[in-house]
Symmetry: D2
Subunit: 349 residues, 4 copies
């Protein structure tokens, strides 16, 4: 008789999620089985919970959700080397096809067949998680499990900041949610001389100022752009702008703030088309724009690890709420209320 | 009594231009006086002639027009070294302030105070042209004067192609006007393995196929995108797309054609805001986009010269019409009819 | 009773090789078994045959030699996807550990535990070759098997040329052996405006001139450097120099030929330490030097394939000799005589 | 009757220097006249004082020495814009020809005709200094004159560190003299996660640990390399090594310490040829090596200014000695004794 386990599931095409019983999986030759310890709740999970436009077009229920996780290896497939039961692991949630041009040239994160766990295939909000060994990331013992659980968004922030050199430069981060906040601190560590956070929520601006930002601006305040630009060289604009709000206004601000010859990295996902003044703000200014997706496999993961091991930043202040997994409804509620920065579910109870 | 000369002038805020008499200038310490031999007529000159929306907002008549030129040094200012009467010269038409961050770091083409000759200050469609020595480009005797006259748009094409590596890649050029055609050939010489031209005009597609392009597509034809993508690796898109049409459709096509991880260079100037699907076509695809303006001073000029000296391309086939400068009306008429590719005015008669 | 097969073996610590009988291997879960069709003979194989200093320090007999190969899939391991019996394949001969920083960041070719087939572990000069599926390269049917057999050195040449941009530049190739000759042609296709071959052997200089080189110089001739530099801009030196001779003289010439601000790529392996004038030739000139090892996995392989598929070069003229594998002694003899460029062994008889 | 002034002069081909009377110069059209306030004494000045091998081959006495300076504009040439009497200035001491490929493409620091002030032409150890306006750097009032006087070596350090990205990386600085110490701090600010200083002098290692370095090693101590490598990822070597000692041993250590795929920047000038194991330490490791000369004009200057304005580092702790210019002999003596880090001469007495 097969063992069973609990999983947080999107059961059908309607708002909400439920804990359901599923058979405990067993790993194939190149897979591992992970006993999940902790998981992070992402904005993406909230979209799926709410069953908004994006979710209803992308997700096919029933689906086990979740992609931010840390766990312990329970069992390894016959062909798996270099990991063993007891290892603490997280993993890259983009599962590439492994065979295409992208997967074979270090760009598996943009493989056209890539499936994201918890979105396109069953995810990590579960007691036992079957996962391909090639996507594993072994967690060093110095790193707390709460932090290991959120390597995925940490990697988004790291990849965005490191997509261009910020050393010696001014950097603006538009949108100071959890990833934006991480980006502020990463940018400061990575050599940005000035880090400017832009967010309409006061508590996030405050957090930003304690987390790498030199200045923080409220985009609802009149004259904020002028005031911000006054902090840039010859008032000509910001060297590097990181867009993490995904809002149309944030994106348009981004292209106004960047200086001639400057660089923009776009991580936030706008819900629909965005109208841009390309002539003035990209072409005449000779701006370079980079779309950012996921994390580099595994260059970004090594960077994240190294920043932590060298004590250059601490993500714990961003984890504002923790719940046992059975109280997942509380987690979504606190995220809906906009009070939380990062929320952790504990699966070890 | 001061000598006089003829100049092609935008006399006032209305369509048309006229030949007018002006005093022959004399050079300041760091200037030269150039006797103009030949000039190229640019789309920008046509906008100013027509007095369209863009022109009426940017140009302040009366103004001597023109920015593509070749001439012979007539006189040099007291502090000018390294050039002397008799030298054949062209020159960079972006006149930077010389003192700002941009001018002092090799980015004078995006100096915020830069003035473009023939647009922001008096230009080169004139018998004698006063010009700053720092902006001069000495023309090697091997290069025909017709070609020297169009180094400016040649430089636009070169700068756009060389803004990223195209070696070993597929390149699409959207918009095969004179600059797009140059870009096709430059890309082929610079190592692109496949060059794809996209243009609605049949005679331009034909020209492209004889000027570096491997394939040419008509964006009015049904299914053209599918057919084009079939020529790319794993049908995943084009490695590098160069946007030279400036049309909203061309720009949107550009972002659909580029492959995940690919690169886009934007040179064409859209007349108004453009609505883009940033999520699908820039962010999830991790595309890099570069706005291109002018030419690098003088890296691009050296590249242009070297391509010509090594016999890698010949621009003469693009020069479809030549007129004495007094027949400037004929030049604008043939450009209006859409028959010409590149038109030269001769000032030596 | 297990099947057997023939293998070309380095039997012990002395010059020579011999054909020996070995058991036919069977693939593990993530391996394939390849029936070898053709193999290329590399200078490395000659070193091992001759048992020179390098070989006697690096190689531990008995060892099946050979690393340049093409074959057909005979059998696949249980966990192998995306390839099947009948597929024509070559493969990357650097077998990384798969788990270290280098292997996980797209730098498997410099994994510190990497083993090279035919050097550090049994190689491909054999009738049936067990090989890890992760290192396979599927050969497109358009590519002749003779060419597929030498993708390995072709990849060395490609990696060296593509390690920097050569578009619009002058390139010198020091040492026009088979890899140097490939590099001449690749550089020309990749946009080099001038390609200069340097080799003491006249027949190689001649081959180079028909294979991408614009000029060829004999380093034994007096005044050759002066003559060469006269072909460079302002006689200031070559933009990019590719060192493929591995000789001390060739390396020193390389650093003299490169222009201030230029680039050097070192592929040739000098047998011992080299004394360099770093002050004059690297530091004051601000030269960038890149050590090149192997090929990028698998970016270089895709580039090689694409150059061939687009018909930009043809490697067949470099294959000067072909032998059935039982006549391997003839192959080594013709290589010893210095007459051959590239020699193929046929295993299909 | 022309005014006169005092200048520190190398009078002839023998050790020593002397204060001599010279006519006060007047500026040409594109020059300025600077009243010198303070100057820094460089190792180069010591070589010229000592009249060692290098100096006797490079310098042609009589020559006014000195290239590190700050002063106040006394007078400007007729064609000089954007500066005026009273401005505080330093300046780039490499005077390029202004007309060659290098000067016109932002590489004036490697112009083959470049003259260094105080080495190839009269220098800045003088009461009134005639200087080309194009090479001026205006000093912001927030920056102390002692610091402005040493922008030249500060720029060497900045250029060396910024020649590659150090963000998220380990960096070793071999040779912790004044420029090496600056490099330690710059690297730390620019995002290096670990900075390792290597120097045989204990007081310099101590200074380094207070000036950006995480660790400091004595290369005279047995087993130091092993101990150092233990601080690197998988003990595979340092990501970026900056060579600032100019000693043969330091250079050889540099190439042993760098990891596979790592980067080396060479700034220190070895007095003669250096023998390197290129195979093991550059080629097989696929290392990138950059020769560094001078400073980028003026990108490096802007970086230096910005680091100071943002309060990211303070150079004053490196200035260990200050003398009125008439006591120049004391300055050279303290430098000879090896006790000083940076020595300033004051010309305002």
């Amino acid at each position: 008789m097969p063992e069973s386990m609990l999983a947080l599931v999107k059961p059908g095409s309607a708002p909400g999620m439920s804990l359901e019983t599923r058979p405990k999986p067993s790993p194939d030759e190149n897979d591992v089985l992970i006993r999940i310890l902790k998981t992070g709740v992402c904005g993406t999970d909230v979209h799926i919970y709410d069953w908004d436009d994006w979710a209803s077009h992308r997700v096919h229920p029933p689906l086990i959700v979740g992609h931010e996780f840390v766990g312990v290896i329970e069992e390894v497939g016959d062909a798996v080397e270099d990991t063993k039961p007891g290892d603490i692991v997280s993993g890259e949630g983009h599962i590439g096809c492994g065979h295409c041009f992208f997967c074979r040239t270090g760009q598996g994160h943009i493989c056209r067949e890539a499936q994201i766990i918890g979105v396109d295939r069953d995810g990590a909000f579960v007691q036992f998680f079957r996962f391909p060994a090639a996507n594993l990331w072994k967690v060093r013992p110095e790193i707390p499990s709460d932090v290991a659980a959120i390597f995925d968004p940490f990697g988004n922030a790291m990849h965005t900041v490191m997509a261009q050199s910020v050393a010696g430069k001014s950097v603006a981060v538009v949108g100071a949610g959890s990833i934006g906040l991480m980006a502020c601190k990463i940018a400061a560590v990575a050599g940005a001389l000035t880090v400017i956070a832009v967010d309409p929520q006061e508590h996030k601006r405050k957090l930003a100022l304690g987390f790498g930002a030199t200045f923080a601006f409220d985009p609802a305040e009149e004259g904020w752009k002028q005031a911000l630009l006054a902090h840039t060289r010859e008032a000509s604009g910001v060297d590097v702008v990181l867009e993490m709000s995904g809002s149309r206004t944030g994106i348009r601000d981004t292209f106004e703030l960047v200086r001639p010859g400057g660089e923009v990295a776009l991580l936030g996902i706008p819900p629909s088309d965005v109208s841009l003044n390309l002539s003035e703000n990209v072409i005449f200014k000779s701006v370079t724009v980079r779309g950012i997706n996921g994390r580099l496999m595994f260059e970004t993961w090594y960077q994240c690890e190294q920043f932590l091991l060298e004590g250059k930043l601490d993500l714990l202040p961003l984890i504002t709420h923790r719940y046992p997994y059975r109280q997942f409804e509380d987690a979504f509620e606190v995220l809906h209320r906009g009070e939380a920065v990062k929320v952790i579910l504990d699966w070890t109870e």
